[in-house]
C-alpha cells in the first residue's frame, strides 16, 4: 500500500542526510496517486495534499530517520481528522415521531438501508414505522413490505397513490395515531439533475419536516460523488450520510470527497445485504482503507 510505496521513495534518499523540498514533493506525488486510485475526487485530493504538505515539510519529517513512516502517520492522522468523528446515531426528537428520510441516486441501497435502520432502532426499543415512498420503481413497495415482514416492523404504503408527498404526510399522521416514535421514509432513487424529482424531495421536506435527511451513497462511487453530494446538499439539505456496500473491495475515497464538500457526518456504513449489516462509521478505519 501507500506505506510500502513511501518506504521505497525514501529508501532511495537514505544516506543523503537532510530531505529536500523535492523529496517531499516525490512523497506527495505518491500520496496523490494513492488517493486518486482510491477514487478521492481529484480536486479534493489536491486540497488535501496542499494541507498535509505544510505538516510534511516540518522539522519532524526533515530530521526523521524514518521519513516514510512519518509521512504515512501524518497522512493517516489528517485523513482521519477530516473524515470526522463517530456520530453514529439518529438524533431522536423530544417531540415524536422522529422523521428520517433516505435519499440518493438509483441503486445506492436506500430501501435495504431503511430496513436496516428500522431493525437497529427496534433493537434500541423504538417503535419504527417504515414508509414506502417509492411509487415509481417496479415492485418497490413490495420490496419494503417484504423487509418489514422479515423484521416484524410495520410498513406504511398507499398502493394507489401517485403522490409521495401525500404518502409521507399520511404516514406521519399514522405514526402519531399508532404511537410509532420513528418514521423512516424510503424515497425513489433519482438523479440530482432531475429538477422535478428534486422538487418532489423538497416538497416532502416542507410537508413533514424530517429531523434527519440521510444521503445514501454507494462506496464504489467515483469522481461524481462530489457533484452528487453537493447538489443534494445545496438543493435539499443533508443531515448525515450512509455509505453502503463497504463489504466489497472499493477503497471508498468517495467518503472523503463527500465529507469535504458537504461537511456532514458519515453516520453509518452498510456492510452486507442482510438487515443486520449496518455498522457505525469509524473514520480511522476508513482512512486506512482509502490509503490502501
Amino acid at each position: 500500500g501507500l506505506a510500502d510505496k513511501l518506504q521505497q521513495t525514501f529508501k532511495k534518499l537514505r544516506g543523503r542526510g537532510k530531505l529536500s523540498e523535492n523529496d517531499i514533493n516525490d512523497a506527495m506525488r505518491e500520496v496523490r496517486v494513492a488517493l486518486l486510485e482510491a477514487d478521492v475526487n481529484f480536486k479534493v485530493a489536491k486540497d488535501f495534499i496542499a494541507q498535509i504538505k505544510s505538516r510534511a515539510t516540518g522539522q519532524e519529517i526533515l530530521q526523521s530517520l524514518t521519513p516514510g513512516q512519518h509521512v504515512v502517520k501524518i497522512v493517516n492522522e489528517e485523513l482521519t481528522a477530516l473524515l470526522g468523528g463517530t456520530q453514529s446515531r439518529i438524533t431522536i426528537s423530544s417531540r415524536p415521531p422522529t422523521v428520517v428520510m433516505l435519499v440518493g441516486l438509483q441503486g445506492a441501497g436506500k430501501t435495504t438501508t431503511a430496513g436496516k435502520l428500522a431493525s437497529l432502532l427496534k433493537k434500541q426499543n423504538k417503535r419504527p414505522l417504515l414508509v414506502a415512498g417509492d411509487i415509481y420503481r417496479p415492485a418497490a413497495i413490495k420490496q419494503l413490505q417484504v423487509l418489514g415482514e422479515q423484521l416484524q416492523i410495520p410498513v406504511f404504503a398507499k398502493e394507489d397513490s401517485r403522490d409521495p408527498v401525500a404518502i409521507a404526510k399520511a404516514a406521519v399522521e399514522h405514526a402519531i395515531s399508532y404511537a410509532n416514535d420513528v418514521v423512516i421514509i424510503d424515497t425513489a432513487g433519482r438523479l440530482h439533475i432531475n429538477e422535478t424529482l428534486m422538487q418532489e424531495l423538497k416538497s416532502i421536506k416542507q410537508t413533514v419536516k424530517p429531523h434527519e435527511i440521510m444521503l445514501v451513497v454507494d462506496a464504489m462511487t467515483g469522481q461524481d460523488a462530489v457533484t452528487v453530494a453537493d447538489s443534494f446538499n445545496q438543493e435539499l439539505g443533508i443531515d448525515g450520510i450512509i455509505l453502503t456496500k463497504l463489504d466489497g473491495d472499493a477503497r471508498g475515497g468517495a467518503a472523503l470527497s463527500i465529507k469535504a464538500v458537504t461537511g456532514r457526518p458519515i453516520k453509518f456504513v452498510g456492510m452486507g445485504e442482510k438487515l443486520d449489516a449496518l455498522e457505525p462509521f469509524h473514520p480511522d478505519r476508513m482512512a486506512s482503507r482509502i490509503l490502501g
Binding site: P138, V146, L191, D218, M220, Q223, D224, V228
Partner: protein
C-alpha cells in the same frame, strides 16, 4: 519540454483534469498524457488544437479492442446471462434489452434468476408484462441454477429466439457467490453447447476504479463477452471503461440512459469519447 513550446502546462493540466474527473483513472490518464509526447515527436500533434482530437482517437482505440463480430450463426435460443454487483441496473437492463429484441421481431423469454433479494422476481415480472414477454421463475429461495436450467428447457421447448437470464447482484469479492455464478454458467453450458452466447457485465457509470476489480473477478468466474454501462444519463462519465477496454479487452456493447423501456442504446465509442471532453 521541447515541442511543448506552444502547448502550455496549464493547458495540459486542464486536459489531465478532464480525464481524471471522468473516472479514467490515474494510471490510464498518465498513459494518455505520455502518449501526447509520442504524438508531438511523431508530428501527429502540431498545435494545441490537435491535442483533444488526438486523445479522443487514443481513447477510441482502447474502446474498440475486441469488439465482437455480430454472430448471426447461433442456433436458437441465443442465451444471454446478465451479471454484476448490487444495484447497477441488471434487472432494468434486461427489461430494456428484452424489448429491443422483441421489437426486432424475435421471440424473447426472461428468467428470474435472482431468487434471493426481496421482490426481485416481482420486479422482473412487471418488466415482463410491460414488454409483453414471459418470465420463467421459481419460488424465492430456490436454487438460481435450477431456475436457469428450467429457463433453458423452456426456451428450447418453445423455440424462442432469445433467452435473457437475470441474476442476483453480488459483490465480486464474495467467493461463495462467485462459485454460485460459476455453477449457473456450467448448468447453462451443459444444456446448450456454446451457451451462454453472451455474458453481459453490467457496470454503473457512477462507479470509480473499483469497476476494474469487478471486471477482472467477474471475468475470472465466467467468460464475460461485453459490458453494459448504465446511468449515463447522470453526470458521471463512466471513464473507467477505457481502462477496462484497454487493459482487459472487454468491449462496451450497450449504454443505459434512463429508467424507461427505450433508454438503452448501442455503445458508440466516438460519441463516448466526445462526451468525455464535452
Amino acid at each position: 519540454i521541447s515541442g511543448y513550446a506552444t502547448i502550455d502546462s496549464e493547458f495540459l493540466e486542464d486536459l489531465e483534469a478532464v480525464l481524471l474527473s471522468a473516472d479514467i483513472g490515474i494510471q490510464t490518464t498518465n498513459k494518455l498524457m505520455a502518449s501526447i509526447n509520442t504524438g508531438i515527436r511523431a508530428k501527429e500533434i502540431r498545435n494545441p488544437d490537435e491535442l483533444r482530437p488526438y486523445l479522443k482517437t487514443k481513447i477510441e482505440e482502447m474502446l474498440l479492442k475486441n469488439v465482437p463480430e455480430v454472430d448471426v450463426s447461433t442456433e436458437p435460443p441465443r442465451v444471454v446471462l446478465v451479471i454484476g454487483v448490487n444495484g447497477v441496473g441488471k434487472t432494468t437492463t434486461i427489461g430494456k434489452l428484452g424489448n429491443f429484441y422483441r421489437e426486432k421481431g424475435e421471440t424473447v423469454l426472461l428468467a428470474a434468476g435472482d431468487t434471493f433479494r426481496a421482490a426481485a422476481i416481482e420486479q422482473l415480472e412487471i418488466w415482463g408484462k410491460r414488454i409483453g414477454v414471459d418470465v420463467i421463475k421459481q419460488a424465492t429461495g430456490s436454487d438460481p441454477a435450477a431456475v436457469a436450467f428450467d429457463a433453458v428447457q423452456a426456451a428450447k421447448a418453445r423455440k424462442v429466439d432469445t433467452l435473457i437470464i437475470d441474476t442476483a447482484g453480488r459483490l465480486h469479492t464474495k467467493t461463495n457467490l462467485m462459485e454460485e455464478l460459476k455453477k449457473i454458467n456450467r448448468v447453462i453450458s451443459r444444456e446448450i453447447p456454446g451457451a451462454p452466447h453472451e455474458i453481459l457485465l453490467v457496470l454503473d457509470a457512477t462507479t470509480g476504479q473499483n469497476a476494474i476489480s469487478q471486471a477482472k473477478l467477474f471475468s475470472a468466474a465466467a467468460p464475460v463477452t461485453g459490458v453494459v454501462l448504465t446511468k449515463l444519463d447522470g453526470t458521471a462519465k463512466g471513464g473507467v471503461v477505457v481502462s477496462i477496454g484497454g487493459e482487459l479487452g472487454l468491449p462496451v456493447l450497450w449504454i443505459g440512459v434512463g429508467e424507461g423501456i427505450t433508454d438503452l442504446r448501442p455503445f458508440d465509442p466516438r460519441e463516448f469519447a466526445d462526451a468525455l471532453f464535452g
